[in-house]
């Protein structure tokens, strides 16, 4: 198991009053993503707990791409992963962001 943390500055999607949203399931090849509003001085913090060690560089790339699509601010993204592929991770992140932001993106 490995714990990875990424931080992003300069996000513009701030939703301090939105409800936390969870998507996905902690099962083989799958992951759960929880997005919550958090007072982080404008930052977006992504915390990953993954069963597979040694994939930090790939996580960094996938999450940086996600932040480019959804520049969240004052948000905590927490992930529990059981070896999901990068494509599945991207889809789950997008699904969670869409749920969290709601229609008023």
């Amino acid at each position: 198991m490995e714990k990875l943390t990424y931080e992003f500055q300069g996000g513009t999607f701030s939703r301090p009053k939105n409800e936390a949203k969870l998507v996905g399931v902690v099962g083989s090849g799958n992951l759960e993503v929880l997005i919550e509003p958090a007072d982080l001085q404008g930052r977006c913090v992504v915390e990953v707990l993954t069963a597979a060690r040694g994939f930090g560089a790939i996580w960094q790339a996938v999450i940086a791409d996600f932040f480019a699509r959804y520049p969240l601010a004052d948000a905590r993204v927490s992930i529990n992963d059981v070896g999901a592929t990068p494509a599945v991770v991207s889809l789950r992140l997008d699904q969670a962001a869409e749920d969290f932001l709601g229609d008023a993106q």
């Binding site: 198991m1 936390a20 969870l22 399931v25 902690v26 099962g27 799958n30 759960e32 929880l34 919550e36 707990l49 993954t50 069963a51 927490s78 529990n80 992963d81 059981v82």
Partner: protein, 291 residues
Amino acid sequence: MSSYYEASARERLQNLLDPGSFQEFLPPSARAQSPHLLQLETPAAFDDGVIVGTATLGGAKVLAAAQEGGFMGGAVGEVHGAKIVGLLERALDERPAAVLLLVESGGVRLHEANAGLIAVSEIMRAVLALRSAGVPVFVLDGGQFGCFGGMGIVARLCDAVIISEEGRLGLSGPEVIETTCGVEEFDSRDRALVWRTVGGKHRYLLGEAKEIVADDIAAFRAAALALLDAKPDLSLDALAAEHEALGRRIERFGSAADATDIWRAMGLENPEKIPVLEADDFRAATAGRRL
């Protein structure tokens, strides 16, 4: 039509209960996670694989729990079990119209061994306390992992089981039986055999499931709604009659080698065709014949 089998535990709750009425206790953001799994270097789910909360069903207040089979096969760990026990004990205080258990579980989570076993025994005790206080507990069983082990016992302690053909109910699961008794005794990869033996139709015919529905969340909802007004008979006479019926059942069918033998002995026509019938046709074909 929205498949119960394919849905996640959260989707089931959302579509089964009155729209927008569900309020979760200990939501994922509360991070009530298993401490054991993290010690074992295994990722743990934020809700420990079970969602508990309050809602309305047809306007009536209910409490509900839904196990997520996708996380460790819905197995009961310490926190997971405590959430269900807490919900049942809350029902004792709040007296809702019913408690719904959307069970999908292989039983005790082996990583947490004794803590999981104790949790299951606490669930059993809480179910019985609640029933004796007059609050009915209903089980909905139609998920991918079925309802086995400790949760299989829990299900049969409840007032009624609503099952789909896809649902399975038992004590030891097919793989456990094969591992302990050998493939000659039970071939867990023979899906037709598995469903004939532990599947929804057989459980319904044996009287262990009160209702059988199509694999549709709306059908589960309608069946749960219909049960809300039922008043269970908890008298000693009813219990004695149940025991007698179980005794007759083992006498009549104890030597049967296969579920089809039992169906034939029950007087069902074309027992070999039973597995291919849709829920409605199946109910019609077996009307008045089940135990």
